[in-house]
């Protein structure tokens, strides 16, 4: 079986035994997700990278005795990342500087389109950044990490009903913040409308 077909659990076992190729595959598969959770929670790219590093260190430490215990590996790793971020937020009393949303150029677009796309992406990131913490975490887990409501509720230690309520409030909040760029999101909005929401 090639690495690409191998499931996470098997890769974790191999990484636990010191298999570098398995570790590299886990890193390739999960770094973006872990980083995204950390970045959206900490709102700071340097702190998010530190938290991602710490998350993977925890993985290497537990890899040789890691057992699924009902949860998917991805859920477990997300929970580790989220708990580390929560610890950081508690310890530092939210003194971390917040950054603008990251720039994400679209490689398929021309120079003007790339600029347009960057502005739009940044506006969306800002809208997510401005959500209250719990709503932002709920959105991050359910919509951005694509975890089920049950998994996300489990990670946040709340009921599924509470999770659904958080998500509904977050979506209404996002609606209010993103309303000016509604047409742009469907491809027909002007640059001015986007800049109005920042």
């Amino acid at each position: 079986m090639s690495n690409a077909e191998e499931n996470d659990e098997a890769l974790v076992r191999r990484a636990g035994a010191g298999d570098r190729a398995a570790a590299a595959m886990l890193i390739e598969r999960h770094t973006n997700r872990v980083y995204a959770v950390c970045y959206r929670m900490l709102k700071n790219s340097a702190a998010a990278e530190d938290a991602s590093q710490e998350t993977f260190l925890r993985l290497w430490k537990h890899a040789d005795r890691w057992k699924p215990q009902g949860a998917k590996f991805e859920t477990w790793l997300t929970r580790v990342a989220m708990n580390l971020c929560l610890d950081q937020l508690r310890k530092r009393g939210r003194e971390l500087p917040e950054e603008e949303g990251p720039e994400m150029p679209d490689p398929a677009a021309g120079p003007d389109d790339a600029l347009f796309s960057n502005e739009r992406a940044r506006a969306i990131e800002q809208a997510i950044h401005m959500l209250p913490d719990r709503q932002r975490i709920a959105v991050t887990l359910c919509h951005l990490q694509e975890l089920s409501n049950i998994e996300a509720a489990d990670i946040m230690n709340i009921s599924v009903d509470a999770m659904e309520s958080l998500l509904a409030r977050a979506r209404r909040n996002l609606r209010d913040r993103l309303a000016p760029m509604q047409h742009h999101l469907t491809g027909t909005m002007s640059h001015d409308a986007i800049s109005n929401i920042s």
């Binding site: 590093q53 969306i124 209404r172 996002l174 309303a179």
Partner: protein
């Protein structure tokens, strides 16, 4: 912007807007440098683990070589304790009447008197 608690529910068009925005936000990527750092952390972790394992293996080997000596020392200490116990268990034999009398006199008479009369 603060959301009003009475904010109306989302229309289907707004739901679509939010879904489109979240789909776009999902494309958050990290640098290759971070991935390289994570792999270096893995290498460091396993290097340290191997070193610790080698050090522990050395200790285990050393203790393994002297395991009979340690067992012998323990057995000697146990035997010494047993012998001491037996000896001290037999020292409290009953005193004869003369010995009782002597000890009684020693208790009640001053030392100086005993010395002068040659009893002590």
């Amino acid at each position: 912007m603060t959301q009003s608690p009475t904010s109306p529910e989302l229309t289907p068009e707004e739901e679509a807007l939010i879904d489109a925005a979240l789909k776009e936000a999902r494309m958050l990527e990290t640098s290759e440098a971070l991935k390289r750092t994570l792999l270096e952390d893995f290498d460091d972790f396993h290097r340290r683990k191997r070193q610790a394992s080698a050090a522990f293996g050395g200790l285990e080997k050393m203790f393994g070589r002297f395991r009979y000596a340690a067992a012998g020392a323990f057995a000697s200490i146990a035997a010494f304790g047993a012998v001491t116990g037996v000896i001290t268990a037999n020292v409290s034999t009953a005193l004869s009447p003369e010995e009782e009398l002597y000890l009684y006199a020693e208790d009640i008479l001053p030392d100086a008197l005993l010395d002068e009369e040659g009893v002590g």
